[in-house]
């Protein structure tokens, strides 16, 4: 009998010990850090409630920062920071940067919810990122997810009717907290369980930035990123046109990281379906394109100063002469009667051709992608 009572007592003690340890365990959240102000404020709002927060940042390949600054010479004058790393440093949190380049292809190529104004599949993208964050919290024993979304801030992914879609389709459900507009949304698990106090979250909505700026001021953040053109090339019209052109020319929707990079660089001219030229617009781009000389036929003016041009596709000999005429057009010999152009094969074998530079009015507008 005594042994039986002892076991029951021990069981009760263990049970209460477990409850206590669950109650006292500090809750942990992962914040999707884009590098912009909203995610910075959302993370800070939750940290203020004593939650341990770490950041997660996804690299799709289409992020504006980094690459372009590294490529273009004019951007080198003021070295740019990585805003996600900067945000994490301001918050004093760890940041996990995750390469999702390959997995992201399916999101971009087959978006269930379609594209936004350009080739931006924002809603599918958000669902995918929150889904990845959900996997991450499970693997790393974290409790919930934070995003900087605000109802009405963006036309596609941040609307009252699409916010629940992200929560549901990502599988995060009520583990997804949007601290900047939480008061306009249903209760989440962290609020219900009292891990965070709903009253200390916010009820921002709409496109105005005033509440965010006031909150930034209250937190003492004064050097945050407010990228005017967004942080993603897929929202850019010209970039999107080049991507669609690439898929059309190939006859299928596919890409790799080199394609993603090359669409960011140079002037793209497609005289025919089977080939296009990528012409460097400045020294930084030319240096960057040099790295691809073994992968593309390339050419540059030999008799005059001029840019490096890469030929993407399967050009015929006649096409190469047309490409040489176009290359000459963008060099200092554009008004000369003839220009010598060096054509370089992928294996490095060179030959010289002499061409008449094409005149501006001979270039149909639809060639310019």
């Amino acid at each position: 009998m005594n042994i039986g009572y002892g076991l029951v007592a021990q069981g009760i003690i263990t049970y209460f010990y477990r409850i206590l340890s669950v109650m006292s365990k500090q809750k942990k959240a992962v914040a999707l850090i884009s590098g912009g102000l909203d995610s910075l404020l959302a993370a800070k709002t939750v940290m203020e409630q004593g939650i341990h927060v770490e950041g997660i940042n996804f690299f799709t390949g289409f992020c504006v920062e980094g690459h372009t600054h590294a490529i273009r010479k004019k951007d080198k004058a003021s070295p740019k920071r990585n805003n996600a790393l900067w945000s994490a440093e301001q918050l004093g949190i760890k940041l996990n940067i995750i390469d999702i380049i390959d997995e992201y292809k399916d999101v971009l190529i087959n978006p269930k919810h379609g594209y936004g104004a350009n080739m931006n599949p924002c809603l599918d993208c958000k669902v995918f990122m929150v889904h990845k964050a959900k996997q991450w919290i499970e693997e790393n024993d974290f409790d919930f997810i934070i995003t900087g979304e605000v109802i009405g801030q963006r036309p596609m992914s941040q609307r009252k009717d699409t916010m629940p879609v992200i929560a549901k389709e990502s599988g995060a459900d009520d583990l997804l907290v949007r601290p900047l507009c939480a008061k306009n949304l249903p209760l989440t698990l962290p609020e219900r369980e009292g891990w965070i106090d709903r009253e200390k979250l916010h009820g921002f909505s709409g496109r105005t930035r005033k509440p965010q700026l006031a909150l930034a001021d209250a937190f003492g953040f004064d050097d945050f990123a407010q990228p005017a053109g967004g942080c993603c090339f897929l929202t850019d019209k010209s970039y999107s046109n080049k991507l669609v052109d690439l898929w059309t020319a190939r006859g299928r929707k596919e890409y790799d990281l080199d394609d993603v990079m090359l669409l960011k660089v140079g002037r793209h001219i497609r005289p025919k379906k089977n080939f296009k030229l990528i012409v460097a617009r400045e020294e930084g781009e030319a240096r960057f394109l040099q790295g691809y000389k073994k992968e593309f036929i390339n050419m540059n003016c030999a008799s005059h100063k001029g840019p490096l041009a890469m030929i993407d596709g399967e050009p015929s000999e006649e096409d190469l002469l047309l490409a040489a005429q176009l290359t000459a057009r963008y060099g200092q010999g554009r008004d000369a009667e003839f220009v010598d152009v060096t054509i370089r094969e992928k294996d490095g074998v060179e030959r010289l051709v002499t061409v008449k530079p094409i005149k501006a009015d001979q270039i149909p507008l639809q060639w310019m992608i």
Binding site: F59, G66, R81, N82, L85, W86, E89, K94, I97, D99
Partner: protein
Amino acid sequence: MDDLGKNMTKEILNAKRLLCPLPVIRTQDKVKTMNAGDILEVICTDPGVMQDIPAWCRINGHKILETISAEMEYTIILQVA
């Protein structure tokens, strides 16, 4: 690195031709496989790493031992925390 402790290792990561943030991601993934005290030398061609890898080290507690920039190549030597 002759003064490396007995159990510490030194590894080299080639991140040439990668543009930021890929060198940071590769560094992060490599560091995950290493032990505290180990040394990692990251060799890159994107000058952005001179800002980004030290920033990543600061927020994750790793120590930058040396940064070298020479002839379009940027090398960062760090010690894993």
